[in-house]
């Protein structure tokens, strides 16, 4: 029981660490790192599902009978590359935010937004 579900539990722990970083940290780059951890935990979940006891890597050969399940491998392989592409997109947004706000901390950005809102309200009611 303990060994049978050990991998799943590690996945849950890693996933929750990632989620905590995303929720509790204000720094945008740190948030992206948290998302990456979350993402990797899902990869680990898929790959450990694919494992079969006594199986080997799914490359066909004459003297092997038992293979691990190739389907999750395919899904995760492409997911990793798509993941880096989307992370790059996120980082690009961070760079633009830094350029226009001068900060990548969530609170400071929020503060600046609120100031702009207040100013525009005051202008509306002279």
């Amino acid at each position: 029981m303990l060994m049978g579900l050990f991998n799943d539990w590690i996945v849950v722990i890693l996933m929750m660490i990632g989620l905590y970083i995303v929720i509790a940290h204000g720094n945008l780059i740190k948030k992206l790192v948290g998302l990456t951890i979350f993402q990797t935990s899902v990869f680990i979940f898929y790959i450990s599902m694919a494992k079969v006891d006594g199986g080997t890597a799914p490359i066909l050969s004459d003297d092997i009978v038992q293979y691990s399940n190739p389907l999750p491998h395919v899904l995760i392989l492409t997911a990793i590359v798509v993941g880096i592409a989307t992370t790059a997109l996120g980082l690009a947004l961070v760079v633009r935010i830094k350029e226009s706000y001068g900060s990548i901390e969530e609170e400071e950005i929020q503060l600046q937004d609120n100031e702009i809102k207040d100013e525009s309200k005051e202008e509306a009611q002279p």
């Binding site: 790192v33 990797t40 079969v52 490359i59 066909l60 395919v74 798509v82």
Partner: protein, 326 residues
């Protein structure tokens, strides 16, 4: 891995965080090898430990590497996380045990891939035959996503360099990269081998771990290494940016055209059996072509992403220099 992940939470210095996330990726790659997923491990090592760490470092040089100490509402966040985690662990109690061969995941379509793919596709690496043939439509979608992300980065970060500034930027660049003689010479010797290895991975994907995705990333890594050590301006002379943009689009085009070609020959979209007289030969041809398409798109998208990040940084430095002078 859990230890590294917790260290990432505690660290304030973003530089250390990024380095730790590189280590984390490498650890997960070795975990994937232990789980028999060699193809996946290959990709994770090249992407996670290589390119993503590098991109994050470039961004940190632009945004500063100190994190604010203030947390907003750590306690409610912790409670939410613990509750979610507890529910998920409760959920795992119904999961099949690790490694059991009769788990539901192994009982449907997977057994067909393992037993029949040799007769139907004729490629020893099952991961490649599933990726490029059975689920080719899926992979097509993913290639398009990568291509779109490349366009997105281009739209967000591309800077138009005025021709009169170019020379000055280049001179700053060159002066920065004159040093590090040993590294430069060693790298110059290594790069041809890295490129060769990328091509080997590309063509050997049918028989061992490898394929278009991994090859593309390795190829891009070689180019990025060159750009880092010899300066962006030198790298721009070697690789024309317009050409790279073209290649990214051509990769998707190759993939799509293979699908259309098989339709014209009377099959379904991306059904390679009709591409040649012998179905197996058709499968080989189809897989070869679409792996090329994938490789082209992935490599050039990664190069586009890196060049745009680094180009943005270069422009910022140039503007700062200008301000300091005036």
């Amino acid at each position: 891995m859990v230890v590294v992940a917790i260290a990432i939470i505690r660290m304030k210095d973003l530089f250390a965080v990024v380095m730790l996330s590189g280590i984390y990726s490498l650890l997960s790659a070795s975990f994937f090898v232990a789980m028999d997923a060699v193809d996946v491990a290959f990709t994770e090592a090249a992407v996670g430990a290589g390119i993503s760490t590098l991109l994050m470092l470039v961004v940190i040089t632009m945004t500063g590497h100190k994190e604010n100490t203030t947390r907003h509402k750590p306690l409610p966040a912790l409670i939410a996380v613990v509750i979610t985690g507890g529910l998920l662990i409760y959920g795992t109690l119904d999961m099949p045990y690790f490694g059991s061969a009769d788990a539901p995941i192994h009982s449907h379509v997977a057994s067909r891939y393992v037993t029949d793919s040799m007769q139907e596709i004729g490629v020893p690496n099952i991961v490649t035959s599933v990726l490029a043939s059975y689920r080719a439509f899926d992979t097509f979608g993913e290639v398009v996503v990568i291509f779109t992300a490349g366009i997105g980065v281009l739209a967000l970060l591309a800077v138009a360099r005025r021709p009169e500034d170019v020379e000055e930027i280049d001179s700053i660049n060159d002066s920065m990269h004159e040093q590090h003689l040993v590294i430069r010479i060693v790298t110059k010797m290594l790069i041809p081998f890295i490129l060769l290895f990328a091509l080997y991975v590309q063509f050997h994907g049918d028989f061992g771990p490898g394929g278009g995705f991994q090859a593309g990333v390795i190829f891009a890594a070689a180019i990025i290494l060159y750009a880092m050590l010899f300066g962006l301006s030198t790298a721009r002379k070697v690789i024309n940016q317009g050409f790279i943009h073209l290649i990214a689009a051509v990769g998707v085009l190759i993939y799509g055209s293979v699908g259309i070609a098989s339709m014209l020959n009377g099959g379904n979209f991306l059904d390679y059996n009709v591409l040649a007289i012998d179905p197996i030969a058709g499968q080989h041809l189809g897989i070869l072509l679409i792996e090329w398409g994938v490789g082209c798109t992935v490599a050039s998208t990664m190069i586009i992403i890196f060049f745009n990040f680094a180009g943005r940084r270069e422009m910022q430095q140039y503007n700062e220099n200008k301000l300091n002078k005036s």
